[in-house]
Point group: C2
Amino acid sequence: MRSSQNSPADVRMKGFASRQTVEQAWAWLDEQAAPLASESVPLAAAAGRVLSEPIASPIDVPRFARAMMDGYAVRAIDTSGASPYNRLPLNIIGGVLPGETFDRTVQAGEACRVMTGAPLPAGADAVLPFERTECEAERLWALAELSPGKHVGPRGEDIVAGTTLLESGRRLRPQDIGALASIGVAEVAVVRRPRVRLVITGNELLPAGSQPTGPKIVDANGPMLSALVRRDGGEPIYPHIVRDDPSEILEAMQDEADVILVSGGSSVGQEDYAPMLLAEHGELAIHGVAMRPSSPTGMGRLGKRLVFLLPGNPVSCLCAYDFFAGRAIRALGGRPLTWPYRVARLPLARKLVSTVGRVDYARVRIVGGRVEPLAISGASILSSTTRADGFVIVPADSEGLPPAAEVEVYLYDE
Amino acid sequence: MRSSQNSPADVRMKGFASRQTVEQAWAWLDEQAAPLASESVPLAAAAGRVLSEPIASPIDVPRFARAMMDGYAVRAIDTSGASPYNRLPLNIIGGVLPGETFDRTVQAGEACRVMTGAPLPAGADAVLPFERTECEAERLWALAELSPGKHVGPRGEDIVAGTTLLESGRRLRPQDIGALASIGVAEVAVVRRPRVRLVITGNELLPAGSQPTGPKIVDANGPMLSALVRRDGGEPIYPHIVRDDPSEILEAMQDEADVILVSGGSSVGQEDYAPMLLAEHGELAIHGVAMRPSSPTGMGRLGKRLVFLLPGNPVSCLCAYDFFAGRAIRALGGRPLTWPYRVARLPLARKLVSTVGRVDYARVRIVGGRVEPLAISGASILSSTTRADGFVIVPADSEGLPPAAEVEVYLYDE
């Protein structure tokens, strides 16, 4: 059911006795959410995952000295004094392409044709580029003098065996996957993705994809939270909508998961079962946060599960997810705690009203490079978050912000 | 095979006759890459996809006036003059929860208990919150006066039927998915994801996941490009490594795809087959770009396929992908052309050397808030991109940048 922002007078709990601050809730949360254990995944599935241990290279890359230009592998000493006016003769003894091995040793006065990337033949110590040569039948002329090592990429030039290529905690980038392939890695140990079970409650809800009929409305929070969880690296588990029934809610909360997100019934009304259930069967560590929207948010533990009680109003649900649940899911998955939103610093187009004593999550639009507040209240108006370009956080100690004040906008468009 | 950065003197093509500028290459590219046709996907799979048509709501949301607080639905006129000192009596006729319909009409002097989100019963026009009442048995007393509409969310308050909820081109956010669910959408028309075929060439290559042996090296570009293509919203197709054989390369280039990425053999050497094949069987529009690394980059068309010839050196391959192929893949998928990297403006720790006449892609580290250039050359050193925090672009008209100059760093860590 939808959480009431106010409590009925005729039930035993009369509103929140006191609200915790956002910082208090974060302090509790950040103690709970250490990265999960490691699992092994194939390299091809590892992009974006977080390493659970450092990776040192077992090999040099390249494993052999290689030609860095197309030309001839020679002994540098054989080119001593060569110039266009003092051509020195060399004898071509064969050629080698990348991926091949030359089975002879380059001797004094000999040259072996090489293409870029080919292993340097034994005996050679430099590469004479094609454009520094002249060729007549099998007779080659060197037109330039080389120092040893010239145009040769030494063994281990890219990566030296034994050095740490990537540290634990690294979120793997596309080029990391390439580098890991090049050192022969087939599987990597990464932080397991948090399994996040959605417990979307409400007798009034129809499953997403339905047409709303009669007094029923369609579940918006389930599909929204599924997408948010995936964005933050979790695996959403969402079998079905749960009825407003304490035993059904408890059963769903006790099901297998690392994180439980309960949507709806998070406040202190008579049909707000989840807080009582969590307090009775686990720990309700935080209930009521000094913020707007989302003040009827709770969190705690049920066995090993981290549980978040999110308001049913969709804007409150989004805000409570972003402030608390998303942070925990990222932390469990080894990702940064910070919001995955880009930030723009821009001036306010007009005053942003707020109230001392609570944090405000203000949806804003950016119009002509200036920030237009859309709404602070209206927790039921989900379209306020689709019309918005992002949000501004007004701290608890602020009465609001004057026009032209520069603010940080967290942009919804990732 | 690995592209040569220089041409052998003994083949007919002697280096690039002239290089195009990055801007010229972009100008050609941006004319080629209009968003692909539309496909229909289930809402649950639509997060992050790009709408191919606007979506207007077929319904009002909510479809009925609803209670915005827990309390009693009443006729506002019946509370006229009510206060704690002038309690007015009301007769409770029943109750309604969210998802339910009340089957009677609220008449003069009557009250129907409602929970937040419940449809407002017929006849009522306001909600008297619990805390503004006193209750004795079935007799209710109003303690406050209400104006019509008080604590009622009107029909269509969130979304009015017929209004455009989301515009064409919108990349769907988690809250958009929620809002679409609430208007009864089950499937959405989105831009098809570009199918991107990887044609990774090189006789020296072993598949990713192998141990390198003898003169063979492991393919780094295939897994790196697969991850980059996924990041940019494309579907990589990568069946196998292709041998340095013109007919095998041509066959792979002609296979089903929207975009072909050829890695290796992109330059003007005698074994660089792909440019000749593209010129012969399609259009080689750009070949050779004034940039470092990645100057031996090509692009063109083969039938309906957009073809990119990427250097085999992995740093060049990454850079050419990011400058050209990624831009096209994003454009085909309806995404912004801009890089998907966050940008930081920071001062240079030391001089960044460059050369007039080419764009430089300089890998950098951020150390103590200052930007340390790592390497401009070293196109074969993939670990330079894993050690780097990001890159700085030095424009073609710049000789380099002095210490303390503020630069824009594109951060690899998305």
